[in-house]
């Protein structure tokens, strides 16, 4: 098979298929990660001390352990819990124990969302801390309730501060989605590896794959800077 023929009939179709799988992993993980990050970040900065300690522990664990290890725990480790339950309580609990058998896709999204959320919460928390208390006080002085003052005044300002950091984390996520390969997902990197080993064309396969990721990241960067521009406040040097 000629080189061009190989690209046209084997490599790019496989990578395109992988790209679609990657997108299906990245988008829900990013959305869930941001949502978890917002909840955890707000809880850590404003929650009761017990809640914020619990969330600190979550961040410590998910930021403090390798993502590969987390991923393997979700996919290979968790079903053991189901096996244990069945050994203890008989086959009657198998509907319950099946909950612990995550598909490769579900374990990838779970791992990425929880890990990403831990980092996102840090950006959100930092942004909330950076907002001067004065605007919140001014809102209270006008008769806003504390919840209104937070959601109407502090949160919009904090969201703008958090955006660059959160965007950065999403760009990381695009790249670490390649780890889904190790729990048997045929996403971009998984496809590349399959083709490369089958045809012994490592350099071309991985170079092309790198190009795909670069394109994804460029697209994300472009989207994020468009959002930053849209949300920028005229005249504010820190945000525009």
């Amino acid at each position: 098979m000629g080189t061009l023929e190989f690209y046209r009939t084997v490599l790019f179709p496989a990578l395109n298929k992988g790209l679609w799988v990657s997108i299906q992993i990245i988008v829900p993980s990013a959305v869930l990660g941001v949502a978890i990050g917002i909840l955890a970040g707000v809880g850590r900065s404003l929650g009761t001390s017990r809640l914020s300690r619990a969330l600190d522990a979550y961040v410590a664990v998910f930021r403090g352990t390798p993502l590969v290890v987390q991923l393997m725990m979700w996919y290979y480790g968790l079903p053991t819990v189901g096996v244990f339950l069945e050994s203890q309580f008989g086959p009657g609990v198998s509907p319950l124990s099946s909950l612990f058998r995550l598909s490769p896709y579900a374990s990838s999204v779970t791992a990425f969302a929880l890990c990403s959320g831990a980092y996102q919460s840090e950006y959100i928390r930092g942004a909330l801390l950076s907002i001067k208390k004065g605007q919140y006080m001014a809102a209270l002085s006008l008769g806003f309730t504390r919840a209104q003052a937070f959601w109407r005044i502090t949160a919009p300002a904090a969201a703008r501060r958090a955006l660059p950091g959160c965007g950065n984390e999403i760009i990381y996520l695009i790249k670490y989605s390649s780890l889904a390969m190790i729990v048997t997902m045929s996403e971009l990197t998984g496809q590349a590896k399959g083709i490369a080993t089958m045809y012994f064309r490592y350099l071309e396969c991985y170079l092309a794959t790198a190009g795909y990721y670069l394109a994804l990241v460029t697209l994300a960067t472009w989207l994020l800077s468009w959002m930053e521009r849209r949300l920028a406040i005229p005249g504010d040097p820190g945000l525009s």
Binding site: G134, Q135, A138, S141, G143, Q148, A157, P234, G235
Partner: protein, 292 residues
């Protein structure tokens, strides 16, 4: 039940000027103590009365049973050295920073007894002007004024905007309505913040050094707005170092130092040459710095 019995059997709390209990001062708030009731006074209530306001931070006493009253149309001026508790007092009166002891009555209603929801109602009756403006950075001048009308008073967008424009016009900034705080000068920001407070139709305005963060040439425009408000009959309590301005408008200076109001009286009385008052000493030092 117990609380009701206590209320019924407790003697009426004394208040300054209470004819039945001459010389009595209002009872500082303490949990379990009989509540201070403004209704106990036969005199019509002051518009705003702060009673025995105490505030501590750790071991430090920031405010030491401070009491003051404001009647409709009053402008009283709080002066005194930094760290004396002036700003803390304003925040306590507004319950932005609830006092540890004492109570505030607005039209005879105790803020201490209010639920969290009613405190929001109480706060919106009192306008606050901050030294560093505290405009909402992500909103235009118009939205800064309208946002509380819409979210707190529940007005429709159009009504809120109409009112916002009217208030901005009153402070001379109607042409700047679409600019964001970062595009305004300090004096303009402070005028927007005054418009924002006025839009809520407050009964009282508390001004916390409204001109201290401004360049000297911008102070005048803000003082002009404050003067117009005073002439329009607004009740105000103002912390300021602009003694020269304040002495011509106010009938009463309150000198505050170390968490207490140590002197009060008319500017003529306190600033008379040779009066030996702490106020006159302080003011002459201020005017040395300000050059008049």
């Amino acid at each position: 039940m117990t609380a009701q019995l206590q209320k019924a059997t407790a003697p009426p709390a004394g208040r300054p000027g209470d004819p039945e209990r001459p010389g009595a001062t209002c009872t500082p708030y303490a949990p379990g103590a009989p509540p201070v009731t403004a209704a106990a006074s036969p005199a019509p209530p002051h518009l705003l009365e702060a009673c025995g306001i105490t505030k501590t931070m750790g071991d430090k006493i920031l405010l030491h049973e401070v009491s003051l009253t404001l009647d409709r149309g009053d402008l009283k001026v709080l002066i005194g050295p930094s760290g004396g508790g002036k700003s803390t007092l304003l925040q306590c009166i507004h319950f932005l920073n609830p006092p540890d002891g004492g109570d505030v009555f607005l039209d005879g209603e105790s803020a201490r007894d209010m639920s969290r929801m009613n405190i929001c109602l109480f706060r919106r009756e009192i306008g606050m002007i901050f030294q560093d403006f505290n405009l909402f950075d992500h909103l235009t001048a118009r939205d800064n004024v309208a946002v509380a009308l819409r979210r707190v008073k529940g007005w429709a967008k159009r009504e809120a905007y109409d009112r916002a424009m009217a208030e901005l016009d009153r402070v001379g900034l109607a042409s700047r309505a679409d600019l964001y705080p970062a595009q305004l000068s300090g004096g303009q920001k402070q005028r927007v913040s005054i418009a924002r407070a006025l839009a809520m139709d407050p009964k009282v305005m508390l001004l916390d050094e409204p001109t201290s963060a401004l360049d000297p040439e911008l102070i005048g425009e803000v003082l002009k707005v404050i003067q117009d408000l005073h002439e329009g009959g607004m009740t105000m309590l103002m912390v300021t170092h602009q003694v020269g301005f304040a002495r011509h408008m106010t009938k009463e200076f309150l000198f505050m130092e170390s968490g207490r109001i140590t002197e009060s009286g008319s500017p003529e009385e306190l600033l008379r040459d040779g009066s030996g008052s702490r106020t006159s000493d302080f003011c002459s030092k201020l005017s040395e710095i300000q050059g008049g």
